[in-house]
């Protein structure tokens, strides 16, 4: 095995080592620790980029951890989807880390950097693994790190929300284990490729249990993705936590979506008998409601963080609406929009953070405040973030929505899907216009109390700007991006290629272009 082949574990090992080193260094030298942490993020991103480039040849690579062959050991799978998600996590990681350091958010509590790195590790591990139990483990890693990050800083409200967030997710983990148990009990394997083969061969008398297992598993993913009615944890959690943390959390719901994309077509695809496409009847209505409730929340929100939280909810709902058709084109559209909505959600939170810091006691509430320094710049950033999040031109949100609308053409529920996507866009537009015009345009009465806020370094604008830069990039390179989404979706649905690559890595050939 060459060192290039070994790079696969980079996205897992690099954050782990960075976390440990930062933990050791931070005790004495804070700035050095923060620098190491940032460097770790950048290196992780570089590793992800390299892997992405590797995977762009259409080949599915596998990496047997511990040198045990699949399905007996844990195998990491490198394909377009997983590397794309790695890159997304890497980009988001760097942006959020830059912002955290620039605004000093990392100094507002303990162990921000190790927790952050561990969360990155959990995300990357979840994207890479080809083993269902290992997926559970990485879910737990990213969850528990998110608990720590979520509680970073102070506040009774944050703690109360944190209690709910943690407990709901612990119950979710229990469901995951039950589902895993059922699957192992019936098939005797944990490897996803192997599982795909064995689920297809399950005798009819086991169909009920397999179906229940598949549904439970999807329910767990839906809980992470915050699909109605399993979404109740999200708004409170995201709006109560520090915005910079919430910005990183924008990818968390998408992990649930990723897991669905990874597992459902492979294991519960067309060949799964009674368990074929198990989530289908439930996912679409749930997703429609999620989008509706999310963007209704955007409309009704009275603060930027709350609004951003609902925007994340709504965008995930939108993603799942389209995903629920389970075709290759819809999945491709989903993937493009998934990346964009992650970045957009994160941007909203970063902007909310800037506003929060600029407006002192007025915070991010949609009330008039006296004119504040940096109002123009923050307003511009908000505008861009809102455009991206609502899905207006010229940013990638619009392209994503076009892709999704087009991909759902001809599906049974086209009318409902289109109506929901378009009407929720309108809700978002009005909602963002309301808060934005109040916060960035409206000026408080002259007798209003002057803002007491510490001056904000210009570097505080770097994070949101980078995030918007990423969105602009995703727009300008929408061609290659949508090609990636298309070919990634093709790989997702070419389950034979996946199974072949994982179970017979030596024999696996190149998978063709879509």
């Amino acid at each position: 095995m060459t060192l290039a082949d070994q790079l696969v574990i980079g996205p897992v090992v690099l954050p782990a080592m960075t976390a440990a080193v930062a933990l050791l260094v931070m005790r004495r030298r804070r700035r050095l620790g923060a620098g190491i942490s940032l460097l770790g993020c950048i290196l992780t991103l570089l590793a992800a980029v390299t892997l992405f480039a590797q995977a762009s040849d259409g080949m599915i690579r596998t990496y047997p951890v511990g040198n045990w062959p699949a399905p007996f050991g844990i195998v990491l799978v490198l394909d377009r989807l997983s590397t794309g998600m790695l890159m997304l996590a890497g980009v988001l990681g760097v942006i959020v880390m830059v912002h955290a350091i620039a605004t000093g958010a990392d100094r507002r509590g303990w162990h921000f950097h190790p927790l952050f790195q561990f969360q990155l590790l959990g995300l990357n591990g979840a994207f890479l693994t080809g083993d269902l139990f290992n997926l559970f483990v990485f879910f737990e890693v990213l969850l528990i790190a998110s608990y720590g990050l979520m509680l970073h800083g102070q506040g009774a409200a944050r703690l109360k929300a944190g209690v709910a967030y943690v407990i709901v997710n612990i119950v979710g983990s229990a469901l995951f284990l039950i589902a895993l148990g059922l699957l192992y009990g019936l098939t005797g394997t944990l490897n996803m490729a192997d599982l795909a083969q064995r689920v297809a061969q399950v005798p009819p008398e086991d169909a009920g249990l397999i179906r229940a297992a598949g549904l439970l598993l999807t329910a767990v993913f839906a809980l992470k993705a915050a699909a109605v009615p399993l979404h109740l944890w999200l708004p409170r959690t995201y709006s109560a936590t520090m915005p910079v943390v919430a910005a990183f959390f924008a990818i968390m719901t998408k992990v649930g979506v990723y897991a669905m994309i990874r597992v459902v077509p492979l294991v519960f695809g067309a060949e799964a008998g009674a368990a074929a496409w198990v989530p289908s009847p439930w996912l679409l209505p749930a997703a429609l409601l999620t989008a509706a409730l999310g963007f209704a929340g955007v409309l009704a929100a009275r603060g930027l963080r709350e609004q951003a939280a609902f925007a994340v909810l709504g965008s995930t709902g939108t993603v799942m609406i389209v995903l629920s058709a389970w075709t290759q084109p819809t999945t491709a559209a989903t993937l493009y929009y998934l990346v964009q909505s992650t970045l957009a959600g994160a941007t909203l939170f970063l902007v909310a953070d800037v506003v929060l810091r600029l407006r002192g006691q007025y915070g991010d509430a949609a009330v008039a405040a006296p004119r504040f320094a940096g109002q123009q710049a923050a307003g511009l950033l908000f505008l861009a973030a809102a455009i991206a999040a609502a899905g207006l031109p010229p940013l990638s949100g619009f392209i994503g929505k076009l892709l999704m609308l087009r991909a759902t053409t001809g599906t049974a529920a086209q009318a409902v899907i289109w109506a929901t996507i378009l009407l929720t866009t309108l809700l978002a537009v009005i909602g963002f216009a309301r808060t934005g015009s109040t916060i960035f345009w409206k000026a408080a009465e002259p007798e209003a109390a002057a803002i007491t806020a510490a001056p904000l370094p210009r570097a505080a604008f770097l994070g949101p700007t980078l995030a918007i830069g990423a969105l602009v990039g995703w727009t300008i390179f929408a061609g290659p991006a949508s090609d990636w989404a298309g070919s990634a979706a093709h790989q997702v649905f070419d389950t034979d290629a996946y199974i072949g690559a994982v179970l017979e890595p030596a024999a696996a050939g190149r998978t063709g272009q879509p």
Binding site: A156, L159, K160, I170, V171, L177, I178, Y184, G185
Partner: protein, 120 residues
């Protein structure tokens, strides 16, 4: 009665109790509920390897029948993770109580230690 029946009903009882308790209004009870649920989940995960009495998974060439080691490994991992989660949630609940003066998960935050039942 078979062992399978005992284990299945034990799982059922633990889950039932756990679900009931986790729907109660105070963090401590909820934590207790989670504890019961995690017992049940561990037992469940263990049971999927089928029940075999007295065949510990210690490798021996002579042994033909043995218990399935993999679920055991999974349960071990699950126990550890559950422990970490439980520890965190307990301390989180405590901190939240200290911060707000109430250990209720929902509703009134202004309630305080007067919640204590005067009866012993």
């Amino acid at each position: 009665m078979s062992l399978e029946f005992l284990v299945a009903t034990a799982i059922a009882a633990l889950v039932a109790g756990g679900v009931y308790l986790s729907l109660r209004g105070r963090t401590f009870q909820v934590v207790l509920g989670l504890t019961l649920i995690s017992y049940a989940v561990n037992l469940f995960l263990f049971a999927i390897g089928r029940l075999i009495v007295d065949r510990p998974p210690i490798y021996d060439k002579a042994v033909v029948e043995h218990t399935d080691p993999l679920p055991q490994a999974l349960v071990l991992t699950a126990i550890v993770i559950t422990f970490g989660m439980t520890a965190l949630v307990v301390i989180l609940a405590l901190r939240s109580f200290l911060e707000s003066g109430s250990d209720q998960v929902d509703g009134r935050v202004e309630a305080d230690q007067r919640d204590e039942d005067p009866r012993p």
